[in-house]
């Protein structure tokens, strides 16, 4: 990857995302959701997208707005159902969106594996359950495992707290969630941040996502959404 670019608008940042792209979208519920980038993606118009994210949208903002605009062919997630996931729920019940449910830790580890150059891994989660059906299994030292493969993206859209001008990132509290692993697993990583500081303005001991993983940064105004509950 070459140097991180700092862009003026979310629209510029997502301008080249093409129809049919696989997009990893950070966030756990609304914490860490890259709202501005997702809204720009709605405006941009790319469709037939595959979205990889923990949830499938809340209310009509962020990921839910993208779903509502009918730009998403398939969602790969661990927990689509939320108290306010009515946009996804309606599309799913109408057969208008594909869903692949992945255990949350497998989703995380598969994304990490893509970023870490691991070809596949044997994972104990889900053994003997419907989510492991059709997958290769293996017993290693008496324990049962399922073979899981990496999940990579053409793009990652994530939200971080602060960047320096080189592209190093830090996050805030549990909004960190999928950001660091998704940043490592996409060809192009696009990050919205509340704050950009000069290079050297983040203590090197505390950098969570090193600049090498970050391609584009946009500073956005912080805003707070009501947090929806699960189910």
């Amino acid at each position: 990857m070459s140097r991180t670019r700092i862009l003026d608008t979310s629209d510029e940042a997502v301008a080249d995302i093409q129809d049919g792209a696989t997009v990893l979208v950070g966030g756990f519920g609304l914490a860490g959701m890259p709202f501005d980038l997702l809204e720009a993606l709605v405006r941009q118009g790319a469709s037939d997208l595959t979205i990889v994210s923990n949830n499938a949208g809340n209310g009509e903002v962020g990921l839910a707005a993208l779903l509502k605009a009918r730009r998403v062919r398939k969602v790969i997630c661990s927990f689509p159902r939320q108290s306010d996931s009515y946009v996804f729920d309606a599309l799913y019940r109408a057969g208008q969106i594909e869903l692949e449910v992945v255990p949350q830790g497998n989703l995380a580890e598969r994304i990490r594996a893509a970023g870490a150059g691991i070809g596949a891994f044997y994972c104990p989660t889900g053994v003997g359950t419907p989510l492991a059906e059709g997958k290769e299994t293996r017993t290693i030292e008496g324990r049962h495992y399922v073979l899981e493969h990496p999940i990579s993206g053409d793009y990652s859209l994530i939200s971080a707290h602060r960047a320096d001008e080189m592209g190093n990132l830090v996050y805030r509290k549990t909004a960190r969630n999928f950001g660091p692993i998704m940043a490592s697993a996409a060809t192009t990583t696009i990050v919205q941040v509340s704050d950009v500081v000069a290079t050297g303005g983040i203590d090197p001991e505390t950098v969570v996502t090193p600049s090498i993983y970050v391609d584009r940064i946009v500073r956005v105004e912080a805003r707070h959404h009501i947090v929806g509950g699960a189910r």
Binding site: Q104, N106, E109, V208, A230
Partner: protein, 227 residues
Amino acid sequence: MTSPTVEHLDRGPLHMDELARLIARDIPTGSFVNLGIGQPTKIADHLTQEQGVVLHTENGMLGMGRKAEGDDIDPDLTNAGKVPVTETPGCSYFHHGDSFAMMRGGHLDVCVLGAFQVSATGDLANWHTGQPDDIPAVGGAMDLAIGAKDVYVMMTLFAKDGSAKLVDRCTMPLTGLACVSRVYTDVAVFDLGPDGVVVRQTFGITLDGLRDRLRSTGGHTVVLART
């Protein structure tokens, strides 16, 4: 080390808050614990300061505090149920990859989950009713089921239709195989292990009465007294 089965006959079944308190008391001092969403969340209210239990939430935090209220609400700080929570001193944050590595690697001492069904051999069904119109959503349930050193289930023993939730074999889609070691219910607490299903205590029912009720729902599981 163990004491015989205790029949608490001077009272009825436990309310869910009482059950939460009972579980809280049984969690060993200094444990690292994950409480599943739903009923198990209540256990946190009954943990004492002296117990020094550290709560893990799979969305990337160790040392999670109580539910946040008023000005303490921070949208960047939630539990696995997306409910705003607080920090405790000595807490730490990490990303999802590291959080589930912690869980899958067997570093948590106890996790407490709700359940639709638990089998006599510890199989767990708690993520999907199996109904065709139910939107599947697993979250971290399968990771929790296989991750902690001890997986406790917290549930009512009987469903609303009267059927037992402690079953010979789960009929609902499985979350994990042979993963549950203890089942806390409103009428009895069970240990599941190499000896089979052993009753630790009952509430508002005798051991024989419990056996009769379970048998009346069609179950064949042998429920043993602890001696």
